[in-house]
Amino acid sequence: MALAPTVQLLAALSAVAVLLVLAAGGVLLARGPYGRTVVYGGALVVTLLAAASALTAIAAPTGALVLPLGIPWIGANLRLDALSAVFLFVVNLGGAAASLYGLGYGRHDHAPERVLPFFPAFLAGMSLVPLAADAYTFLLAWEFMSLASWALVVSHDKEAGNVQAGLVYILMASFGTLALMLAFGLLAAGGGGFTFEAMRAAPPTGWAEAVVLALAMLGAGSKAGLVPLHVWLPLAHPAAPSHVSALMSGVMTKVAVYGFIRIVFDLAGPPDWWWGIPVIVAGAIAGVVGVLQALLQSDTKRVLAFSTIENIGLIFVGLGLALAFKASGFGGAAALAFTAALFHVFNHAAMKSLLFFGAGAVLTATGSRVMDRLGGLIHRMPVTSVAMLIGAAAISALPPLNGFASEWLVFQAILLSPELPAWGLKLAVPAAGALLALAAALAAACFVRLYGIVFLGRARSDEAANAHEVDAFSRAAMLALAAICVLAGLFPGLVIDALQPAVTALVGVRMPAQSEVAWLSIVPVAESRSSYNGLLVFLFIASSALLSAFVIHRLATGAVRRAPPWDCGFPNADPVTQYSAGSFAQPIRRVFARSLFAARERVEMPPPGSLAPARIEITARDPAWAFLFLPLAGLVERIATRANRLQYLTIRQYLALVFGALVLLLLVLALWT
């Protein structure tokens, strides 16, 4: 069925084109005085327009277009449907915020020519992925996105660890693309076409569908950061400049989620009952492992990167539940779970971008990402600290902010799962629920730690003590995202309703219309079962707080005295005696991380009277490195050493090798038939 191209599709394509032109312009203008303004300002305008047009496209009819590019006879198939529009909106909203932030933040970049050309190219790649409607265009856009972000990761290659981060990233990205390529190969084998339409018409069957699911989880999961394919993420996301970190963590992982949804929900045909199990299990494990790792880090941006793994876990649990419900014919429950996942996609894009912007603002103001060199910034950076507080509360799933609303929906979906007939799911789902609840509680601990160490307390270094608030563009970007977090939390029903065309397209059923529920509540199934009203909860809390403040100030004395803090008999305690990032996490490290991450503390205490410093050394390892990647790297190294001998053969030996290979191939061919 050939659809006419719609205005929105053409708008999105022209946005991609303009972004590519900006990338080229970035090459020419980077060193010039207006480079930053042109590139970021242009990207801001383009992404804002594209986001607005994507928003209208979610509900509007779809459009398709074939461009005479790419593989002969297939061309570049492009298509904008409700699901693409949702992700296009998320990408461009995140892109707009990052561009706005970049207008100010980019000023501090000492090598703009290494960032400016790739930033709009990265945005263009991410916008193109949801538009692709054939395997070739999809993989091309996916690879373009990966390479542009890789260039941004290694843009500051003189900083320690960045080159290594880039190497690990490009290896994992290539692996992910390879997995996706194989998945598309299997999908195309059925119908003999590389367009999504042909794949959809002839979905794989039998073992092929299992392999497609596994490859989609490997390919999209490695980009999204599913455990154990997450190892590149905490290295690469912090290495990039902060607005790019925000895009990578907040937005690119969402494009990966899109890839997974497109393949598994759309192209692979109706799901089997067991499809949900690996997805739910992988998501739940990613949730707990990600947040626990975040608690062990002492670098602000690494904490945020690990926290992304946790949130991706939550999204995948939602998607897995949706698969399980869809396979068992529970349309309403599937719609609920799928909506929860999409809602969290949107929420996480906003919250994580905001938090990375905040970390970038702190980096600009103090020159440090190490938590133990910060502190007390709430006094020095009032706007940043308010925005970050909202972001931290939102990502810790505190009502009435947006993170809570999507998490609440996931819990409601879990509570519908006893209906599922399959026994495997009956055991996997409650366990996943417990792990998610654990991850949520640990996330709150993680962000208390991050915010408390960085913004509260006393300054731990001179840089932190003399920090200044960042520029107006950065502040505006942070406040805009904070406003989105608050609004989406107060009016979750509006977001849920906006997502329904995409839910209907993928699951076949939609959630009940939330805008028709009285008082702007959200009601996933029926009011007697569960309902939540973010706005009313907010009003209750606000009015009780104001009322109590009013009454107290009437009743009590208003006297306030400033005094030194309680010193326990030791006056003038140095700021380094405050709780540090490591000491704050110590109880949790001891409870959870000992067995999982082999976290160990070694304390060197000099004898009394000695002037030698006491030392504490904390070590922890990522099991994915220890048990998967390092052995794998060792194996590759050993094989490479063996194969190295082949470089030093004589001509005769080479000819013999070629002859032998030829005979072997002919033998195989003869035996095959």
Binding site: S417, A444, G452, Y532, I552, W566, A573, V591
Partner: protein
């Protein structure tokens, strides 16, 4: 509508008025059990009044967050307590927040209190906050698992609906028994009672909650104390309305049923206070790093209850 609004308003004021009395009663019973005379049960009211009349001493470094948190903490706890049915289930705003939201409201309160503990920048606040989040990282998922068990039995996360289902009677169930034990453990931990924390101590080695609020004084401290008392009341009310729901006035009940509901509520609270005091006097305080085992048991019990309900509706 007006009657419902009145019930809701009465409930909000009732929990506020009763909370200090409950704490006073627990203290009195504990004192009598340890052969002390103990202060009058109304002493907490006097303490609050005394604190209100004292000036608030702020550390030089305290930020606006430090001053705002007591109000936020109090408001979140009060709203949560106001949404738990105490003497009647006909709470007009109960649909605005279910049991998961109530749990999360308490989580928000704790989030901000832990932040406030770190604001002044002393090691005391840090130690309190750090231990508090360690305890809550296990208590919160245990609580969510209990919520799951209750919701699966009652087919609803709405607390009013759960209470109505429980009043109607669901029979003896293994999962509910597990949930009750788990809820008792969580309640002890969340309220900083012995054996997890000691609300009466000022000893660095053991204290959690007190270390966090050490810098607070005057009206701020009064609000924090009142919030802590409200939280204790909330958990006892929760146990009462879910596990001993008898006497709860149904929605739209007449004055007689409401009075009966209040009387039974008072009796349940008093019984809960006595039980809590007996429990606290009969065991010793745990080491901090024994607490995770204690709470891990609650988490496992909650998960077991939920699993049983996933496997069979009858258990």
């Amino acid at each position: 509508m007006m009657a419902n609004l009145l019930v809701q308003g009465t409930q909000m004021l009732l929990v506020l008025a009763l909370a200090p009395l409950l704490t006073g009663l627990v203290r009195k019973v504990k004192a009598r059990l340890t052969r002390r005379r103990g202060a009058c049960v109304f002493q907490p009211y006097r303490d609050l009044a005394r604190l209100l009349n004292k000036e608030a001493v702020l550390a030089h470094n305290a930020s606006w967050l430090f001053r705002a948190v007591p109000y936020l903490l109090f408001a979140a706890t009060w709203v949560a307590a106001a949404l738990v049915p105490t003497f009647g289930t006909g709470l007009i705003f109960s649909w605005s927040a279910d049991l998961i939201v109530i749990t999360a409201l308490l989580g928000s309160a704790r989030f901000f209190l832990a932040l406030a503990g770190m604001d002044v920048g002393t090691s005391f606040g840090g130690i309190g906050s750090s231990r508090e989040v360690m305890i809550s990282s296990l208590a919160e998922p245990a609580m969510i698992m209990i919520v799951f068990s209750l919701a699966l039995v009652a087919q609803s996360t709405q607390l009013s609906t759960i209470a109505s289902v429980m009043v109607a009677g669901v029979g003896l169930r293994v999962s509910l028994a597990l949930a009750l034990v788990a809820l008792a453990i969580v309640a002890v931990a969340e309220n900083g009672r012995i054996p997890v924390d000691n609300p009466a101590t000022h000893l660095e080695l053991t204290m959690v909650h007190e270390a966090m609020v050490l810098e607070y004084s005057g009206r701020h401290l009064a609000l924090i104390e009142l919030a802590a008392q409200l939280k204790l009341l909330l958990f006892l009310s929760l146990v009462a309305c879910v596990f001993v729901p008898w006497g709860l006035a149904p929605a739209g009940a007449g004055a007689g049923a409401l009075v009966l509901g209040m009387a039974s509520y008072g009796a349940k609270l008093a019984a809960g206070a006595v039980l809590l005091a007996m429990f606290e006097t009969s065991i010793a305080k745990m080491r901090v790093f024994r607490v995770p085992d204690f709470l891990g048991a609650a988490l496992m019990l909650g998960l077991l209850g939920t699993l049983l309900l996933f496997v069979s509706r009858m258990l």
